[in-house]
Amino acid sequence: MIEINELTKRYEDGVLALDHVTYKVEQGEIFCLLGANGAGKTTTINILLDFIPPTSGHAFINSHDCNKFPLEAKKYVSYVSENVQLYGMFMARQNLAFFAELAGKTGLKKKDYDDVMRTVGLPEKALRMRLKNFSKGMRQKLGIAIALLKDPPAILMDEPTSGLDPTSAHEFLAQLQRLREQGKAILMTTHDIFRAKLIADRVGIMKQGRLVAIRKKQEFKHADLEEIYMHEMQMAESA
């Protein structure tokens, strides 16, 4: 569903943000990208969403080249950012309706909004609340709700648990679980090794633009993922 092929990005200032990175995220899979700041995790997402062009290589969503046919590719993907920012003067329902319409979902009924709010763990009355009164956790949940309303086969999440309190983070992981069960391909970047271990089917470890390792669930399920991560980082350093 999500395919990264020899993807390279060098910025104008010469910084190599991605260096021939290749991997795939299949349907019903959660792929967590781990790495320090500047490792190239967000750059990958930016290229997938056509915010920036790659220097070389290709990124595909549902077999559509994200750089050549971005509008086609973006039909099959939703994006949840680290800090979901919506229109503060709008009520939650207006925000949901706006982004759903952008995703081509028109004519949604009250029941659809109530359902999605329930699914993400937000009270129905929050639909009538202005976004400026939402906490960060509530905004993240609403971000998920927007992604759910679009109902795409792939979801990109850029450090979605950052800044969430433990309860919200727990609920968020439960939500991800459900999305995986629905067959969504989820690419999530995170610093949170603990939660990555809990939810990921595979993890990719990135360092200075390179994907230094990919580990399957079986490999870290009963091991200490942090140790694996540190080991891979040291190996990459010495290489």
Partner: protein, 495 residues
């Protein structure tokens, strides 16, 4: 998709505090300024009617059979411009003056429709659009919008249409309130052409307002932060609204230099003095010759105060009426006296021609100044076209008959009327002379059937021909700013 973006942009703007501030400001300022200007209009109308009545009274009682004086008494009176309740015009009538002189408006000029559009609405437009892109990038909403399958072109169009629509609302609402006031005010009588002009003025104003919205949008697509965007917008606003239109006359004055009025006046006086001196010298010589040639006969002529001194004739005066008869009788009785008088008249005519010849130089001087001044004004006007402000002012003023063009038009109609009155006066005086050969210049002349000056607005077609190029430039500015905004947004880094 476009509809969704438009609706969101529109809703987002009208929920914003700046919309409410803009709406209240527009309505308050528009209503206040229309009320004040309508009051001034009534005052000027009263003033105009008073002047008309006064002129009628004077002409009905004191019109003389003297062409020069009669033409001086029949002066075309222009009524206040019909758009006076909306726009303060350039005063086109030298007779126009308030009976109740109030110096305060000089210190604090009253606001008008042009001020509302060019200052308030243009600032409001930039306030609405400066953060349309940069602000959304800063908030993070732009990433989320662009992560959907929607083209940047659609987003930009949607923002433009939605943003402009939300901006036009305060303007249209306040204008409607003003129009309502005008339509129910019995002192203001507008015909259908005035309403058509108002509709066109509204359309031109919207073109101007969208131009500044697009300018703000363009700046926004080249800025990372709304704070830098608003600063850049203010800089451009000052440049386009205040600097360029005010600097252009100076540039034009440097490029096309003309002598000052003072210098020209001084030179004119010099020429006049020279012409008088030349005519006097000529007549002095002639008088000397006549004294030698005719002796006592010429002294007798001089004693009749006709010749007094020859220069007396040169400056447009003739025999004193009470001596004219005596001189004529003397000439009829004595052919020698008549021959001398005719010869002297010829000399006077020669001196007069010499004086006219010298004074032609003075006419040339003023004509030259007029031509150069017109050229300078035209150059300044064309230079100022690089500012949208100037183009809008030309459109608004020429359309409503409150600008430079209306002055030229007024002068043309006045000249036409003066020609008409001139022929009327000639005909009237000739008829009166035929009826009464003894008619004196001081005699009363009945001019109750004189042609009246009725100021007619220029045709809409004529006005449209004049304003379309400037309106076209405003549209061109819109296109240029949109294309620039488009180019900026296509390359815009949404991260």
């Amino acid at each position: 998709m476009l509809k969704t973006i438009i609706a969101r942009e529109f809703l987002n703007n009208i929920l914003n505090l700046r919309f409410m501030i803009g709406l209240v400001l527009c309505i308050v300022v528009t209503v206040a300024c229309i009320m004040i200007l309508a009051h001034d209009y009534r005052q000027e109308m009263k003033d105009y009617n008073a002047r008309m009545n006064l002129q009628d009274e004077i002409l009905d009682n004191y019109a003389k059979a003297d062409r020069h004086r009669l033409l001086g008494m029949i002066r075309p009176q222009k009524p206040p411009e019909r758009f006076r309740p909306l726009i303060i015009g350039i005063l086109g009538n030298e007779d126009l003056g308030f009976f109740d002189y109030n110096p305060l408006p000089i210190l604090f000029p009253p606001l008008d429709f042009l001020f509302i559009v060019t200052i308030i609405m243009s600032l409001l437009a930039m306030l609405f659009s400066h953060d349309a892109i940069a602000g959304e990038r800063q908030n993070g909403t732009l990433r989320l919008v662009i992560s959907n399958s929607i083209s940047r072109t659609t987003i930009l169009f949607g923002k433009f249409i939605g943003g402009t629509a939300s901006l036009i609302i305060p303007f249209i609402l306040s204008l409607l309130v003003g129009v309502l006031y005008i339509s129910i005010n019995p002192a203001i009588q507008w015909d259908s052409s005035a309403w058509v002009e108002l509709a066109l003025l509204t359309a031109a104003s919207i073109t101007f307002i969208t131009l500044f919205y697009l300018l703000g949008l363009m700046v926004s697509t080249f800025s990372r932060y709304s704070s830098t965007s608003i600063l850049n917008c203010l800089f451009l606003w000052v440049l386009l609204i205040l600097v360029i239109p005010n600097v252009c006359p100076y540039i034009s004055a440097q490029l096309c230099r003309i002598p000052s009025i003072k210098q020209t006046n001084r030179r004119d006086r010099e020429i006049e003095m020279h012409s008088i001196e030349a005519a006097r010298e000529y007549m002095k010589e002639s008088v000397k010759e006549f004294k030698l040639k005719y002796g006592a006969l010429f002294s007798e002529f001089e004693s009749m105060k006709c010749g007094g001194i020859g220069s007396f004739f040169v400056f447009g005066r003739d025999f004193d009426p009470k001596y004219r008869k005596a001189a004529q009788q003397r000439a009829e009785a004595d052919p020698k006296f008549k021959a001398m008088m005719d010869a002297f008249r010829e000399e006077v005519e020669k001196a007069r021609q010499e004086l006219i010849r010298i004074r032609e130089e003075s006419d040339m001087l003023w004509k030259d100044l007029e031509t150069k001044a017109a050229l300078q004004t035209k150059l300044a006007k064309n230079l100022a076209c690089i500012s949208p402000f100037a183009n809008f002012v030309y459109v608004a003023r020429d359309l409503t008959g409150t600008g430079l063009r209306s002055l030229e038009y007024l002068e043309q109609t006045k000249d036409e009327y003066k020609r008409q009155v001139g022929s009327y006066a000639d005909e009237k005086i000739n008829d009166a002379r035929k009826k009464n050969p003894e008619l004196e210049e001081e005699s009363f002349l009945d001019v109750s059937d004189r042609p009246r000056f009725v100021f007619k607005e220029e045709s809409l077609r004529g006005k449209l021909n004049a304003i379309l190029p400037y309106w076209g430039i405003l549209v061109l500015f819109n296109v240029v700013f949109f294309v620039a905004a488009f180019a900026g947004f296509m390359r815009y880094d949404v991260r």
